[in-house]
Amino acid sequence: MLDRSLRPLIAVRVMAPPAQYDLAIRDLVSGVLNWRMWGRLGWQETKRRYRRTVIGPFWTTVSLGIFVLTLGILWAQLWKQVPATYLPFLTSGMLSWVLVSTLITEGCSVFTSGENLIKSLRFDYTILTCAVIWRNLLVLLHNFIIYIAVMIYAGVPVTWNSLLVFPGLLLISMNAIWVITLLGLLCARFRDVQQVTTSVLQVAMFVTPIFWSPDQLGPRFATLVDYNILFHFVELIRAPLLGRAPSPWTYVMVGLCTLIGWGLTITIYSRFRRRLAYWL
C-alpha cells in the first residue's frame, strides 16, 4: 500500500517560520512602504469617480459646500454669531470632520470589501489600509476649494501656523493606519461593529465641537471636549486652517492616542492577522 508510510518524513528543520509578531510588523511596514501599489489603488478609485460624470468627486465638494453655506448662515443667525468668523470655523471644522469620520467608517469595510483579494492572494493587507487613507486625502484636496473660497470671502489671513496643517495630516494618517487596521479586523469578525461605529459617529458629530466652539460650552462640561479624542484630531487641522496653532493639550492627547493605539493594534494584529482570511 502507498498509504501513510509514504508521507515524506521531515527530520531536518530547514528554517523556523517567522513568528506571528514578525509577520504582523512585516505586513505593516512593507505595506506602508509599498506606496506605488496603494498610491495606484487610491488614485484609480478616485479616477473611477470621475468616469461618466461631469464633475466626479466634486459632487461631494458641492454638497459639502451647500451644507456649510446654508447652515453656516442659518446658525450664525440663531446663535448670534458673525458670519465672517462663524463660516470659516464651520468650513474648516467640517472639512476636518469629513476626513476623520470617513477614515473611520471606511476602515470598517477595508477588509470585507477586499475579500476576493485576501482569499486569492498573499499580500500585505496594509496596502488596502493605506489606499483608503490616500483616497481620503485626495477627497480632502477636492474639498479644499470650499475652504479657499470661504477664506477669501471672510479674509482669514494665512500665517506661519497654517503650515502646521502638514504635521497634522501626518499625525492623522499615522493614527488612521492603526484605526483602520483594528476596525477592519474587528468588523471582519463581528459584523455588528460597523453598525455600532456608524451610530456612534453620528452622535459624535454633534457632541464634538464642529458646529459650536468649545468656549460656548462653559467650564462644567469642559471635560466633554478635553477628553474627546475626535475633537483633538479635528483640531489638528482645523486650527492651522484658521491660522491658529493647535493647543499643546491637543498634541499630548494625540500623542498618547498614537502610542496606545499602535501598541494595542500591533498586539491584536499579531494575534489575529492569520485568522483574517478565515473570517471573510
Binding site: P8, I10, Q44, R48, L117, L121, R275
Partner: protein, 251 residues
Amino acid sequence: MASLILENVTVDFPIYGTQKSFRVALRSATGGLIRREGLRHERVTVRALDGVSLMLKHDDRLGIIGHNGAGKSTLLRLCAGVYEPTQGRVFIEGKVSPLFNISPGLDPDDTGYENILTCGLYLGMTHEEIARKTPDIEQFSELGEYLSLPVRTYSTGMLMRLGFAIATAIDPEILVLDEGLGAGDARFAERAKRRVDDLVGRSSIMIFASHSEDLILSMCNRAILLQTGTIVASGEVHEVMELYRKLNQSG
C-alpha cells in the same frame, strides 16, 4: 532554490452565524469533518485539512487528486500563503504565485491597460516587469484597440483572454494552479494549453489540483490523493491515479 514544506498541517474553518437547525443540516453535508468546540459546543468548525505533511523541492510537479470537498482548494490556498494553518507549520522558500481565479483585482470600469498594471502589481510584478510583459499580453490576448476601452465593454471570452494573458505572464518560482484556468473557444484552448505549459516550464515548483486525469498525467510527476482532508496516498502519478479509480469504483 525554491522549496515548500508542510509539517503536520491542520486547517479548521470556523462557521459563524449558524443556527441549531443549520448545524443539523451541516452534519449530512459532504466535505470536512464538522466539530463543535467551546464549553457548550457553541462553536462550529469544519476540519478541511487534517495532519497533512508534504515536502516539495525544485522540479517537483505535484498533482492533487480528490473528490469535491476533499480539501484540494484549501490545500492550494495554504500553499499559497492565503490561509495560515490552524495547527502545524508551513515553510515556504521562494515567491509563490497563486492562480485561483483569473484576475484578482480586476475592475470593470478601468481600461484593459489599466487592469494589466493593477492585476500585474497584485500578482507581484514590478512596474518595469509589467511594462516589459505588456507587448506579450497585448499579443496573446488579441484584444488590439479594445485594451484602451473599459473592461466592462468586453465579452466574456475577451475578458477571459485578458485575465488569462495577465495571469500567465508572471515568472513564478512556486506556481499554485487551480483547474478551471483555461477553456475558451477551441483555437484559444490550444494556445492556452501551450501558454500554461510554458508557464509551468518556467516555474521551479508546481502544485496543481484537478479532476482531470489527463491533465494530471500530462503535467505532474508526483501526486497525492486527498480524502476528507487527509492524504491517503502519495507517490507516482500512475499509482495514485490507480488507487483513485479503485476508490471511485468501490464508492
